[in-house]
Symmetry: C2
DNA sequence: TATATCCGAAACTCACAAGTACCGCATATA
DNA sequence: TATATGCGGTACTTGTGAGTTTCGGATATA
């Protein structure tokens, strides 16, 4: 113990010799983890599957993540990046136009994938708060947030009464699509989403199309 | 091969000697399986846990079910028994009265338990159609069926327009409570259920309270 | 009472997956 | 160029859980 732990700061960079870690591979590995997670679930996923799909060695994965659990948390957290920011949400002048404008092939596909990951995780969520937090931030919250934003704008326009239960109503479409995919195993297509908008969401907001 | 397989019929009762199997224990074992399932999930549940909780030997379980998978399917199917039949649904004269009348401590507790089991199963549902079918019949369908029944009666009374999307609207409350419990991990209490009825369900049916 | 089966309990086999160690090669610093 | 590290790949160790077997004791038929 001569001069240990006295490095400059933030887990100081001890040496700088030898080959550097290729961090461009991190996203590929996390993507592979998400693929396996969506197909096999938390327990069904093995590190070997992830390594094989990422064409990486198992040791490489363990050099970067301490355990399977940490890898999964990182993988789930990295889904958040595919989120759309509010500035590029549709702005058609009517709430219905905005909601319908959000239905695009990519967003449907993306949503379905996220739900499959969520299904694979769900038995763990109750026992792993860290994972539950990551899943909520990456999968759940973004969808509700977009709906909240659009409804608030509709209230500002005077299109919707200001006393509606925004929280609950923003969760209608995430909840019902999740249920439809995970429990009912029925497809979520444009037709279904529009029937949700016209048959449930807008009426609940007092708009009768 | 002298006279095998020539028993009278329906997998004939071969002998009738020795101690008989005590089938009164079956429900206890299935209950234990559901308890563990709700707490640990499909993969987290072990046969030893179930046997221990049921105070039974592991061999006893394997004498009655060929595998863990079959035990779980049977356990899920046996949840269906706690269902209420239509004849004892509330009949208050208004849809809102009927829906509110369905909110009882027991039904909330029962629903929460079923959802926890569902959460434990969800990673398997996509890969095990037999399980998905059992889960749907035991957990999902009964709740939707009750709602459908009440809405149909409201239509017959003229309280609700006959052209509403009964299928979708009957799934609002099951979907959103499931989402709230499984994904949001928030409690489902009387207040929340009433806000769902008054803020979403009735408006979607064209009733403005 | 003799026999066959069930019971709970515990020991066992077997397969599989997390995590580790090592190989030969690639790539970086000094 | 010498050294130290990361790389993909493979073999290994270890723990755990499904399913099987065995045991002494209980309970049924004949």
């Amino acid at each position: 113990m001569t001069q240990l732990d006295l490095t400059d700061e933030t887990t100081g960079p001890p040496p700088k010799l030898g080959r550097k870690r290729d961090h461009t591979r991190d996203p590929e590995i996390l993507q592979a983890a998400l693929d396996v997670l969506a197909e096999e679930g938390y327990e069904g996923m093995t590190i070997d599957m992830v390594a094989a799909r990422a064409k990486a060695g198992k040791a490489t994965l363990y050099r970067r993540w301490a355990s399977k659990g940490e890898l999964i948390i990182d993988a789930v957290a990295c889904m958040k990046k595919s989120d759309l920011d509010f500035s590029q949400l549709p702005d058609t002048g009517t709430l219905r136009g905005d909601l319908v404008g959000m239905i695009r092939p990519h967003s449907i596909e993306d949503g379905e994938r996220k739900l499959k990951v969520m299904a694979g995780l769900s038995s763990m969520l109750a026992r792993t708060p860290e994972l539950a937090e990551a899943a909520n931030a990456a999968i759940v919250e973004p969808r509700a947030a977009a709906n909240r934003f659009l409804i608030h704008r509709a209230i500002d326009r005077g299109e919707v009464a200001p006393d509606v239960d925004i929280e609950t109503i923003s969760l209608i479409s995430p909840s019902m699509t999740a249920y439809r995919v995970l429990v009912l195993h029925k497809p979520v297509d444009r037709e279904y989403l529009i029937s949700l908008i016209d048959g449930v969401l807008l009426p609940a907001l007092g708009i009768t199309p």
